[in-house]
Assembly symmetry: C2
Homo-oligomer: 338 residues x 2
């Protein structure tokens, strides 16, 4: 099959690789209807994470089950499914506690930017759609494999409540989905920190009540003005850099929680401030499977349309251009059609 | 008046200093009935915190109001009161959110190891007892000024629930009070990590179901055995050293929260583990005033007796011996009678 591989920083190729096979009786093979590029794919792309040259890359897709192992009982060929970026059995103690991303059977071998993908623990991992969706619905469904569930997890982790005053740090796809999540959860004030007009527009459509373009001390002052000098009840940190984390804790009020979902890179936490002001940190790799049924319902009922974060669609052969567009922030999120 | 002062590492003296005066109309002066030494007093004592030579030290006491400012309306001379270690107006947005330790009017000038102390924001800070208590009740009441409220805060921050499996790191007065708090909150399993027999005994009396003497990887293995390989639902970190914090995160299950109340010194957080396993961190300086009414009720009704953490009582003139005894871990907590 054709799949996206990475050979070094900024070296993305489409190559013929062996078709995935059922390695375990709990596996399924899914024919990818659409995949996409994740902000976290940019870490290895930029050389910030180690790379194994020639490895496949990509972990978000939707598609049709074409083969199942002998122990898969809930799915069969023909089912159209959403594939969460991390697989899980959904029965271990960590899954039952809602942390499917720490499943004892997690297996991260999916490749979403390809023609086929292997899904481990298919019964636990996959969620079926109601029939084969129209391709117009693909973008919204694709967000459920990662970014929408991750933005949702940021809001849950930050303990957003009805009436909360929320700040979202980061205007990537996850940050924008975080705005949408906070809005669905009834936040009263939602501040999106963004300097890009196209992203500001989506943030506003998703429910942001305020846009703050400033950063550093000016950004802090703007948030303090908006929150009557108190700070935010809940902060969604959707970037993972040291500067973004610092901003998140700066704007948090005493007793607030920072919900973090950006993979941390070079972050030093302000432990003294956290202690003296009782500002907590919660979150991490999103347990996508936990939220999938609820989010799928919100999407199929038309209550939310997170698919708007996609602003570029490319055929698989042009996936390298998709990486370039996201790296240069010309695109928020890129759909890849195999 | 006579007060405890610190002149350098391990240089504690009792000296004549000016009596405290009403500096603000919201102040009260309290005649100390009993004070005590806090584990956090040992940081400057050991030279780990900066010292202003000759400064008074100590921040925990109970006693009788002897003078109030013109704007104090809820207290009058003769009232017997519990003095939380940090003062607060109990009306600002941070107080109303339950983070009285971040009150916009916090003023840390109390001196509890002395004959008199000034209490800022008396109306907000103080809590009255029902008449003048018998001196036999002083130890339990003294714990409410700091250690019992702090152990309680650790348990609240770690989100201890009925049925929780809890690990308490630290067998000082705060850790022991954390065990008691977890027990009152209905935890099913409470593991006290302690190597001192006298402290183990109190931990068991306070509700610990298991004692783990081992540290490092052996301690981790013991906790895993006790929790069926899953880890703790909630961890109370009551020390503040890097080793204690590392242990706390090691034994936490995915999705758990570490409630930290030990003042952090030289701590590096395991951010990668926190992210990949969704282990949160919450807590900080305890909002004592928030918990005081509830805890006072638990003490006066006889439901809890946290006063057992006191195992040495000294007159004010011998306060330096009290510091030595706590520094050398010969005493858990020392009551000082002026």
């Amino acid at each position: 099959m054709r799949a996206t591989t990475i050979h070094g920083p900024r070296d993305i190729r489409v190559e013929e690789v062996p078709d995935p096979v059922l390695a375990e009786p709990t596996d399924a093979i899914v024919q990818v209807a659409a995949g996409c590029i994740c902000g976290s794919d940019l870490w290895p792309y930029r050389g910030e994470n180690p790379i194994r040259p020639g490895a496949t890359i990509g972990h978000e897709c939707i598609g049709e089950v074409v083969e199942v192992g002998g122990e898969v009982s809930s799915f069969r060929p023909g089912d159209f499914v959403v594939v969460p970026f991390c697989h899980c059995d959904n029965t271990c103690p960590h899954c039952l506690a809602g942390i499917q991303s720490a499943c004892v059977h997690t297996d991260g071998t999916a490749s979403g930017q390809a023609e086929l993908t292997r899904v481990a623990q298919a019964d636990g991992s996959l969620v079926r759609t109601d029939g084969r969706p129209d391709p117009a619905a693909y973008p919204a469904l694709l967000t459920l494999t990662d970014v929408m569930a991750t933005g949702w997890h940021a809001a849950v982790s930050a303990r957003v409540q009805p009436g909360s005053r929320v700040v979202v740090v980061g205007d990537g796809a996850v940050g924008l989905c975080g705005v949408l999540a906070a809005s669905v959860m009834g936040a009263e004030t939602i501040v999106a920190m963004s300097r890009h007009e196209s992203r500001q527009r989506i943030a506003t459509d998703f429910g942001a009540t305020h846009i703050v373009e400033e950063r550093g001390s000016e950004g802090f002052e703007r948030v303090m003005d908006i929150t009557d000098g108190v700070g935010a009840d809940a902060v969604l940190e959707c970037v993972g850099t040291d500067a973004a984390v610092a901003t998140a804790f700066d704007v948090a009020r005493p007793g607030a929680t920072v919900g973090f979902v950006g993979v941390p890179h070079g972050v030093e936490l302000p432990l003294r401030r956290m202690f003296s002001k009782n500002i907590g940190l919660a979150g991490g790799m999103a347990p996508v499977r936990r939220y999938l049924p609820e989010l799928l319902d919100l999407v199929t009922s038309g209550r939310i349309d997170p698919g708007r974060v996609f602003d570029l669609t490319l055929p698989l052969d042009e996936v390298a251009e998709g990486y370039r567009a996201m790296d240069e922030r010309r695109a928020i999120k890129v759909q890849i059609n195999p």
